[in-house]
Structure formats: structure tokens, C-alpha cells
Symmetry: C2
Subunit: 363 residues, 2 copies
Amino acid sequence: MKITELETPALLIDLDIMERNLNSMAAYTKAHGLRLRPHTKTHKTPALARRQMELGAVGITVAKVGEAEVMVSSSPNELLVAYPVIGGKKLHRLMDVAKHTNLTVSLDSVEAAQGLSDAAAGAGVTVGVLVEIDAGMGRVGVTPGPQVIALAKAIDRMPNLEFRGIAFYPGHIKLMDDAGHAALARVDDLLSSVISDLKTAGFAVPIVSGGSTPTMHHLHEVPHMNEARPGTYIFNDRNTIASGACKLEDCAASILLTVVSTAVPGQMIIDGGSKTFSSDGVGGGATGFGHLVEAPEAVFEKMNEEHGYVKLKGVSKGFKIGDRVRMIPNHVCVAVNLHERIYGVRGDEVEETWKVEARGKLQ
Amino acid sequence: MKITELETPALLIDLDIMERNLNSMAAYTKAHGLRLRPHTKTHKTPALARRQMELGAVGITVAKVGEAEVMVSSSPNELLVAYPVIGGKKLHRLMDVAKHTNLTVSLDSVEAAQGLSDAAAGAGVTVGVLVEIDAGMGRVGVTPGPQVIALAKAIDRMPNLEFRGIAFYPGHIKLMDDAGHAALARVDDLLSSVISDLKTAGFAVPIVSGGSTPTMHHLHEVPHMNEARPGTYIFNDRNTIASGACKLEDCAASILLTVVSTAVPGQMIIDGGSKTFSSDGVGGGATGFGHLVEAPEAVFEKMNEEHGYVKLKGVSKGFKIGDRVRMIPNHVCVAVNLHERIYGVRGDEVEETWKVEARGKLQ
């Protein structure tokens, strides 16, 4: 099938770029002795998780139990749920997942650990646990110090749980200048101290898992971590560019759209808005809701649910109703979550059609 | 089933409030002689479209062909696609819809009309057309004046199309003060002039269709319109409150969430973020991403995809891991689009479970 045969809006993935991104991250983590456990929240697609596994990932990462259920067949040896699972029904479902893979869950409370232990004991399975520590982002995670040891000890005492190490997410660190690199060095100091305390308390710490999109090519600056969980790298987006972690030519995802109205002078309306892109903005001094491939100087200024407003002031190229254009989104993970299918393209050809099977798995 | 048995995040609809909203709009439009043609973008659920039809709606409104396909069985007598349909495959699908209802499409260009005519002629059906006029919002719509007459004449000449009137969307008008009401009066003047010009040119104008959420209880201030297309009124949300068009007690939709982390002092993390709510903000001086029913003074300050950050400074009520809370969203239409199911609740009981069948229908 040709791209011209697709209906719009359609989410396209340039397969050449995606494969380059996958190979590059596999090579980077291998070169630095990091286990690679990609977060599948970006693509939500088992076939793409399998591509990551074929390229040397040790396992995959998900956030929600519903994603684990979809993804487990792609990752039979290792599956990390990087989110505390709270609530009986969810834990019951998670135990079914645990019967088909080596499951690890990251969490930051005795309550979450207790629920997991009860469920694991009930199902007769053993579940690994990473203690989530707060490396400065202030979202989730135990503050480094005695609380980490206390939680590790509590986990150690609970039936059917196995303490496997620590997890962190340095989502607050941007690497645009020296301050960012210094912050990354402080994270390493923090990890060093936590690992040392845990070892003193008698724990082995086989897994030290972390990473974020802006830091994804600088994880070797955190030598105490041994496992990376990048997500966005497979496709990249305008926010990845804004964080300095990739360039425009590394963005594999674009949305194919049709011009549906040019009635208002100096503007065209495209057939995708917040229901197609999400309303997520962009950082790093960039503006607008996307990068128009056919005319980068155009400004994707505003959205309603089904309407994208593209301002054409100073744009030399003309657009008419029925023209098709491509827009690189600000935040590809939330855009993927809005699409039923992903089209893998090479040149003008649609080579692959994937259903986004873990789309909208909120629970 | 009890609400306590639901997994979270879950989208709850208070049926008492929803029914009051439906009845109130039915009564308002009836009292003012307005045909009611609700936009189903808010609920995306055929069973709720049928409720609207039972309460006297003449038909329903959708934006995309994929929504029309899902909704057509709920509205066999009248269906309005309030969006220009551009592209051969979509038009072909739309003609299948036209075989099962009396279809009308609003559009603002000769190109869109020509495509529709060609498709209708090919399928042997007649399709009604409303000319979309720009009432000041600057999104889509022909600028009032000779262009409206020119487009009506072009439509009139095209086979298998039937000119049925005009449509407009005054989404730019807020009714917080006299200026808003004056703007609404200007819209009526505009309609009067367009209708008069059309009649002079020999056209009957049976349908004058418009309305927006902020103006929904003031459409009688636009006496030249005869059809209202409200959407959000069935559920309402924080933006409806911000626009002055409803009060907190009119909001039927809330999202049920679980507290999953309290590791960071003064904050709790709930298990829904931008993948559950969308990133849409709120207007009218309000802040945050939702209204926490259990503690309205709490601030839902920040979101990642799966994490909601709720600041608890100055909040007297304590929350612990595993607690369940309800949050009224900023923009319910985009939130509904993120959920697989809607739960209709009354008191503590889940009375209805609806699949959001037109969710994610982008095409």
C-alpha cells in the first residue's frame, strides 16, 4: 500500500529512522555495560517490543497492569512494572501476568509492598521488587536515607517478595548546560550512598535501574546504575529535540493530515487537533503543537479537538483543500495513545500496520 | 455493582445530574422553539445519543465519518456531520452512512461540496448541505457576504446535493459580561443579513444551526437561529463552569482515582495523569487539572502521563495510600475519548456500563 492510500489523520513511523534509533540505543547501552529495559509506553505495541527484545533488551518496562497484560507475551523472561500497583483486583490480574514472566515491580511504600506480597502469596508466585527512590524529581520515590533501608527490610520480611534493587527517574534533569551534568553527577553520588547503605545492611543490589529521555545518551555519567529504561528514543519527538537529546532527523513519528479549510486568510485548518495530537506543549523555547514537514516556518498555533490551526504568515509554499501534510508531534507517547493504528513507512510505501494494542490501558 | 468494586482510573457519570442536564436542555430548546441536535462528541456513546433522541432531539451531530458510522443507528432520521469531509475513501464510507439516515454535512468550500456531490451521485443518494459561515471565531466558515451566496449557488448546481441552510459556531463568545451579550447580538445581525441575502437570491433557508457551550442557555438571544447543537451540556466540566454556563453541582462527570504514593511530603500522587484527563487546561481564572471532590482546596497541579500530582498544602483532610478520590475534569470531551468505558452511577451503585464506542475515531 502507498501512503497516499491512507485515510487521515494517520500516525506514520519512518522505519529507517526507527531502526536507526533502536540500533543506536542498543549499541550505546552495550558499549557502556548497561542492561536495556525499554519502556513501552511510547509505542504500546507488542510487535515493537519484540523488535526491542531482538536487539538485545533484557526485558521491557510498562506502567499499568493493563499494559503488562498486553505486553507479557513479548517479554517472557523479564517484565518490569514501573508503577506501584494498588488495589485487590489489579493485583489479582498482575499475578496472572507473573505466571508467564519473571515479574518485577517498583514501589515506594510498605502499603504497596504488603498488597503485592499478599497477592503473590495467594497466587503462589514470587515477585521481584525495586525500591523507587526520589532522585530529586519530587514525584514518587522514597527520600534517600534510612527510609530506603527500612522499606528494603520490610520487603525482605514479606512472603513471596524478593528485593532486587533500586529504581529512580531523573525526569527533572535537562542536559543543556554544565548544571545538568552536575545534577547527574549528584544523582550518581546519591545512588552510591544508597547502594552502600543497603550493602551494609546486608542486601545485594543487583539492579540499579533508571534514566530519562533527556539523559538517555549520558547515562554513562551515572556509573552506579546498571540498567536503562528509555522509552521515547524509539520514535523521538519535538520535546526530545527541545531537551537536546536528538535532532529533527531522528524523529521517526509524524502525523499525516489533510487540509480541510482555507476559508480564513493566512491560515489553513488541518483535520487533526487535540484528539489527534494531545494538547501537550513543547519546551526549550520552541512553540506550537507540531513541526510542519512541508513548511517548517508555518506555526501550528492552536487546536480544538478536531481542528488544527496552522498560521501561514511568511510561508511561501501554498496549500489548498485536499493537500496532505505531515506534522511531527510535540509528545509522541500521548499521540500514540490516541491512535488505533501505527503505519510503518519506508519512502512512499506502507510496509507495516500495527494495532496499538496497549492504547488506553488506564488500569 | 458498587462503585467500590470498580478499578481505577474510572470515568463516572452521576446519572441524576446527567438526567437533569438532559431534561433542562430539552425544556429550554422546546420553550424557545429551537430544534435540538446535540453534538455527540462529548459522550461518544450510542446509548446516550438514544437518550437524547428520546428526549426530543431531532437528530444528532458528529464531527468525523468514523463517528457517523458508530452513531447512525441511534439517529436514523437525521444526522449532521459538522465537519467538511475531504478525501475519496472517507466520502465513500460516508455514502454508506447516507443510505441509513437523512444526512446533512456542513462545509465551507466548493472543493468540499464537489467531492460530496461526486460521491453522492456515485452512490445514488441525496445529501443535505449547510454552508458554514464564520461568525467571528476565525476557524472555519465562509466570511459572510457574497461568498456565501456564491457557495450556495454552486451547491445548488451540483447533482445530488440539497442546500438546507447555514451553520455557525460562536466558540469565541463568552457571556461573562455585557460585551459577550453584545457579541451574541452581532451574530444575530450577521445571520439576519446572510439569511436575507440568501432569500433574495432565491434560496429557502430551513436550517440555521449553531450554538456553543458558553452560550447554551442564551441561544434565545440569537432569534434568527432555529437549531441548537450543544455537546458538553450532558456532562459539563470545569471549563463549562469557568465560562459561566453551569455550576459545580451540574457537573455529572468525575474520574475515580486511587492514591498510589504519599512519599513526597505535602503531596499525593493519584493514578491518573494526562493519559486519563488529557492535558487541557481551564479558563476563567481557575487553575489546575481538576476539582478534587473530597478536598476542593487541594490543587491538582501537575501531570505526567500516569501520575497526577495533588498538592495538599492547607488541606485538613488526610489521604493515605489506597484511598479513592474523585476528580472533576477540566474538559470532559477529551477525557471521555481516553476511556474505554463510562460508568453510570447513582449513589454508591453502578447502574450502567457503556462502552465508549466512538472513542478515538479520528478518521
